[in-house]
């Protein structure tokens, strides 16, 4: 990657190497830009960064100017020549793709970027860049503290697990610190971000992997663990490449390994790839997978904090929980605790996805409403049709109708509304959605991804698909008796899955199903797809 020309007179140009930017052609633009600039004799240094998370503007190019970085986007290869001609290297304002100062783009200016403070700004694999932007300050402070003081600081920050379960991170760390077992302990980062509508972990790992590495080292110092694993999903090849590069840099510069920053302390870190199993995002299944087994869920207790990886005391935390830790030490627990409402402290990285005009990453303090996200940030649907249903918190989260959009974005308010914030994913559907079809998919997904250990999940999900098919078939045949009978069967089945499943997979799959039934009952009175051949066959 010899794209960086370091001569002093050159102008810094920034272009993301984030998956979403690449999925829209960022790599070809990089090549085209370097070629065109060379031809013109323009002297630029192309720095590949993470994404700012303004995905409707990707690929977005930024140029360093005396006033700050100026953005242009969304750029295609065809725009490169005209950008250079419009003097974009001097932050020229005449090009139609000119967006002004990046930091002043309202979508970004209205956010509270804490965990994502550096993402999109720094070169993700340049440790010097990381240091210049405040990196390693937290680690230096933690190195001078006792394990108990580190744990207490995390407790005081109010940080709760960002993977979805929202368990207080400090309490989990305390359990591992207190584990009577004096042998090997582990820090495991759950980077198996399988929920549809979520990409914050990926963006963080691709845009600021050192913050995750630093957070894991601090966790290791806190509980006395010297070994860490990042369990990354196989579907994230770009994050894998960047993480490996970042870990190699950190080792080369003695941030990782033995004698961290000359402290005499050591911490070793490895990335391990999953293999396309959604269930491995469940922490005990993840541990089984790391041990080289099928990803079967373990019964709890014992908690992983006491009997975890290879039977040892283990901290299992989400990417964002760990990546937020350095900031808690750099600026203090009180500073972080100052964000948020009630028992939901700090910020959450919301992800606006699906049918949304301005999709992207929105990091906000807890407490704003869903409606703010959907309309003020999201700008309505991309198809410009009315918004009908919103799924928050991934495939196990409830579908919410408009009457629920005033709900404040905090863990407790969502729980009260029978919904979950989960990992902060928000998937928007317009009025063409059929909610019976969505409910059926929830059951289908559970049937495909269930680990198979417990019956309510393994069998219940398959029966769920069948019952929903019977419901729509009976609606088509206008058989009210069969319809009512199957609706009641579905309700019973959901109840069994919620109360009888071993983990959240079977235990929460009914949430989207029940919410679809509750708020969109009309959709269960007609076939999912009026043009599908199965419906015709049924009538025949």
């Amino acid at each position: 990657m010899n794209q960086t020309n370091t001569t002093s007179s050159s102008i810094n140009v920034y272009l993301p190497r984030d998956t979403s930017a690449l999925s829209l052609g960022a790599e070809s633009i990089a090549k085209q830009l370097l070629k065109a600039a060379e031809k013109r004799g323009d002297n630029l240094s192309l720095i590949r960064t993470g994404s700012r998370g303004l995905f409707w503007l990707e690929p977005m190019i930024e140029v360093e100017s005396p006033k700050g970085r100026v953005a242009y986007g969304p750029v295609t290869c065809a725009d490169v020549d005209s950008l250079l001609a419009a003097d974009f290297l001097s932050a020229g304002e005449s090009h139609p793709l000119y967006l002004g100062l990046t930091e002043q783009i309202p979508y970004l200016a209205k956010q509270q970027r804490v965990t994502f403070a550096r993402v999109g700004i720094t070169d993700p694999v340049n440790l010097g860049d990381y240091r210049r932007h405040g990196g390693l300050k937290g680690l230096r402070k933690a190195l001078a503290m006792s394990p108990q003081d580190i744990v207490t600081q995390v407790k005081n920050s109010g940080l709760r697990g960002r993977g979805g379960a929202a368990f207080p991170t400090g309490i989990k760390w305390q359990t591992v610190l207190d584990a009577a077992d004096r042998g090997q302990k582990y820090i495991v980062c759950n980077a198996d971000e399988g929920d549809s509508g979520t990409f914050a972990d990926r963006m963080l790992m691709e845009g600021d992997p050192f913050s995750l590495i630093e957070g894991m080292i601090i966790a290791g110092l806190a509980v006395g663990a010297t070994k860490g694993y990042i369990y990354l999903r196989e579907e994230y090849p770009n994050a894998h490449t960047i993480l490996k590069q970042a870990i190699a840099r950190a080792k080369a510069e003695h941030v990782l390994g033995s004698n961290i920053l000359q402290s005499g302390k050591s911490f070793d870190l490895e990335v391990r790839l999953g293999a396309g199993a959604y269930i491995c995002g469940e922490e005990t299944s993840l541990l089984e997978s790391l041990e080289g087994k099928r990803g079967l869920v373990r019964a709890k207790p014992p908690l992983p904090a006491i009997v975890g990886l290879f039977g040892r005391p283990t901290v299992v935390n989400n990417v964002l929980s760990l990546a937020t830790v350095p900031e808690i030490f750099a600026r203090g627990a009180e500073h972080y605790h100052g964000y948020g409402v009630g028992r939901s402290r700090g910020t959450l990285a919301f992800q606006l996805a699906g049918n949304i005009r301005y999709g992207g990453l929105v990091e906000l303090a807890f407490g704003a409403t869903l409606d703010t996200l959907l309309n003020d940030f999201g700008g309505g649907t991309l198809t410009q049709k009315p918004m009908r249903s919103v799924q928050v918190g991934g495939p196990l989260g409830a579908y919410l109708p408009e009457e629920q959009w005033h709900t404040p974005l905090d863990y407790e308010a969502f729980a009260d509304a029978g919904a979950v914030l989960g990992h902060g994913g928000v998937v928007v559907f317009d009025d063409s959605v059929n909610m019976a079809q969505q409910a059926r998919f929830s059951m289908e997904f559970c049937a495909i991804e269930s680990c198979g250990k417990c019956t309510p999940c393994r069998i219940g999900s398959t029966r769920g698909v069948e019952v929903i098919d019977k419901i729509t078939a009976s609606a088509d045949a206008n058989d009210q008796h069969a319809h009512a009978e199957n609706m009641s069967l579905l309700e019973d089945l959901c109840d069994t899955m919620i109360n009888g499943s071993l983990c959240a997979m079977g235990g929460m799959t009914p949430f989207p199903v029940q919410s679809a039934v509750k708020y969109f009952a009309g959709d269960f009175d007609s076939a999912p797809n009026k043009t599908s051949p199965t419906k015709g066959a049924h009538h025949a």
Binding site: F55, A353, P395, V427, V428
Partner: protein, 166 residues
């Protein structure tokens, strides 16, 4: 299918991969990844070769290979195309896209097309949910895909393949 000498070469490579990973804690998944990335799949013949040094039964190794969607026991086509079926992509027309793609390639999931040798697989989220619908080809993820963009991607793939064969 494989000639004796090719089989021998394969055996040797697998042995090397297994022994190179043996010092790791929990080496099985890294071994399976390394074998699949080398051969495109995990050959059935390799199961005992993996099981023995790891002190596992063949059933245990087979159980792991079959548990994970990503590991395959038969060779894929020249290219593997994964189509995202998850909710964020559904909201942007993924159901239509998957049916268009199946029709275009004239195959269903887990099959390989006659023309272009493309293996089609479903995937549940590629983390590109603000640029849906998405597909993945090898290490590359494509966003905002419709059937026309899919055609362009496939054309590029198959042209490159011809160049390599020449």
């Amino acid at each position: 299918m494989a000639t004796p000498s090719r089989l021998q070469g394969q055996q040797q490579t697998i042995d090397e991969i297994v022994h190179q990973h043996l010092p790791l804690e929990g080496p099985l998944l890294p071994i399976l990844h390394a074998i699949q990335s080398k051969f495109g799949y995990v050959p059935k013949e390799s199961v005992p070769q993996i099981a023995e040094p790891l002190k596992l039964t063949r059933a245990e190794v087979h159980g792991v290979i079959s548990f994970y969607h990503f590991f395959r026991s038969s060779p894929p086509g020249h290219h593997t195309v994964q189509v995202c079926r998850a909710e964020a992509c559904q909201a942007m027309g993924a159901r239509q896209l998957e049916s268009d793609i199946k029709q275009r390639l004239n195959i269903d999931y887990h099959q390989t097309s006659a023309v272009g040798e493309i293996t089609l697989e479903p995937v549940y989220c590629l983390g590109n949910c603000a640029c849906a619908p998405s597909i993945r080809v090898g290490e590359q993820i494509y966003g905002r895909v419709d059937i026309h963009r899919f055609d362009d991607i496939v054309e590029e793939l198959t042209t490159t393949a011809v160049k390599i064969m020449l």
